[in-house]
Amino acid sequence: MFDYIGHTLQNPLPVTSGWLESLHQKARLGALGRKVSDESATESWKYSSLCALEENNYATTAKPDPEPDLLDKTLSQTIGIDKSNAHNLVFVNGLFSAELSDVEPPPGVEFVRFSHAEGQHLTSINASLGTMADKHQSIFRVLNELHLKDGMYIRVNKNVELDKPIQIVWLTTRQAQSYTVSSRVLIELEPGSKAQIFETFTSDDAQQNSFTNNVTELLLREGAYLQHFRVHQEQEDALHIGAVHADLYENATLKSFHLALGGALKRVDVAVNLLGEGADSEQFGAYLLCNDQHMDYHTSTEHFVPNCTSNEVFRGVVGGRSKAVFNGRIHIHPGAQKTLARLSNKNLLTSDTAEVDTKPELEIYADDVQCAHGATVAQLDELAIHYLQTRGISRAKAKALLSYGFVAMLLEQVPEPVFAEHITAIINHYFQRHYSEEGCDE
């Protein structure tokens, strides 16, 4: 077993100039003396093991990119939504690839690389970066900063409405040595602006030896509207511990959608802070697991002020020898009256060797609120399977269709058709393949 944090501290990034260096210094202090094992002993890691992180030495960062041409080919074939329908930003092993990206932002939008930030941009970054991060300063947020070579600040200016989505592709490739990818974006929507962001995490087809530590920060100023998608399609061996933090000010709206196909260890922490009255958060998510995959979603919706609404629906189809962990928390702070908050987590468990651990949580400190949560772990309805069979559809196909329907219901909530179609295709493909494999979960 490698001591991941210890090794990381012994292999510091080369000294760079300016503010990133001071970020590294601060993170160094934050990481000193901490152990991965301390983190895994916490309630937050009750159902997920961090062993995979210390089985190989992930403590160094990626070497320079392989052939970009090769990547471009893979990219255009497999990743995300149609490139011509989006403004594309591509990161390879955590580093921004200008060749594969549309460097010129659309009107009213700014793309600022962390390593190039200066003047007013740097002030904005410093004012917001990490301020939404979790109060407990999870060791992985600290490590993200310790390893950070670059990142992207995206600003949508006041009252600007984007014509096309911004697509962010996070690509990892197999390298000679196992390595860590630290990546980060800070997205700020100025008052009254409107945008769609589509993030895809993916990898090349080779067996992966990367550990991705990603943080995405979303800042929605007054009246801003954001659709945010985060799709995990990395190859199975990839490790991922990521976080999405969102701050919503007055009348801001966040509609987010998470989709994960499993991996050796995937963990995503989502924290939504409702900081201004009239803010609205809608989160939908799906995880589709098989083989020995492990997926862990921890979400937290914090109602700090009155008159906000939140709705969260996550669904999972869990088979093989996989394990799904879901922890969804609604926290109503004192004084946050007239809150409407709902959360639902439904799972289909399709194998006796798979496991679902779910915990919807409510913490309520105000009385004039309407909160509800529900969780189920169950199976496909036998009557529905029968109904499809009476129409000539095979049992396997019936299960694929019904499983697809179970997840596809969430897509009715996706306003952007390009996104809905893309995600429909991923889900459909997954179930077609999953149920056609002989004896899979039967």
Binding site: L383, A384, H386, Q389, T390, G392, L401, M409
Partner: protein, 248 residues
């Protein structure tokens, strides 16, 4: 088409069918009537192969083959169709996806190429119009949030698309107003042919005014106790089901 001999079946361990005999030839339309709890719906489900409906004795041959040995979907692919009394809701799966999967499965069984999406869609839209439903329903989840009458019509659309050899309509008339009843009747009548048989399971003779049966059977306590022509249904209408037990 269908030969049932001495059929006995249990539901949740309780005997419901207790020695039922029925012979249906190609082109015939049969009506099966009877009081509540007589086993009418059970017969439909046993024929379709619903789990939990256990056959304990007797035989069923469909187009010369042993039906009991067939999986539910094989029965469907061989041309047996059951219109459910209570159609199942399948949220998230659209009628279009469902119908296409079903039509494809039957085509494949016949060794035919799957229908291309354009002609499939054109045909499906026609069917919706035929039963007086908005083709917009194609995009909605299967039976999801449909009214009782809409569900029944959705069943008929499936029947029209699948063109079964034997269609069993389980109380398709219940809960329909007179206009809807006529729509149902037209759809069923459009299917009538010398190669196709129809079984109508119904409580009331009303439907039989619109779809004229060749034979009427009265089911009571798991057995067919009377068989006759259309006049038997009228007699039942007049005298009620109490009269059956008196004859027995």
């Amino acid at each position: 088409m269908l030969t049932i001999k001495n059929l006995q079946a249990n539901v949740e361990g309780k005997p419901i069918l207790k020695g039922l005999d029925l012979e249906i030839k190609p082109g015939e339309v049969h009506a099966i009537m009877g009081p509540n709890g007589s086993g009418k719906s059970t017969l439909g489900h046993v024929l379709a192969g619903r789990p939990g409906y256990e056959i304990t004795g007797g035989s069923i041959f469909f187009k010369g083959e042993n039906l009991i040995e067939m999986e539910t979907e094989q029965r469907a692919r061989n041309g047996l169709f059951l219109a459910f009394q209570y159609p199942v809701e399948i949220p998230g799966v659209s009628n279009m996806e469902f119908l296409k999967a079903s039509v494809d499965a039957l085509q494949e069984h016949k060794g035919e190429q799957p229908m291309d999406s354009v002609s499939f869609l054109r045909q499906a839209r026609e069917m919706y119009k035929q039963v007086d439903l908005d083709p917009g329903f194609l995009k909605r989840g299967v039976n999801e949030g449909f009214s009782g009458g809409e569900k029944k019509r959705n069943e008929l659309i499936q029947m029209l698309m699948l063109q079964p050899a034997l269609a069993i309509l389980d109380e398709t008339d219940s809960g329909l107003d007179i206009d809807a009843l006529q729509v149902v009747a037209e759809a069923v009548n459009s299917l009538r042919s010398c190669e196709r048989s129809i079984v109508m399971i119904t409580h009331y003779q009303r439907l039989l005014d619109y779809i004229k049966p060749d034979f009427v059977h009265v089911l009571s306590d798991g057995k067919i106790v009377r068989s006759g022509d259309k006049s038997l249904a009228l007699e039942l209408e007049e005298k009620g089901y109490g009269w059956i037990s008196e004859v027995e």
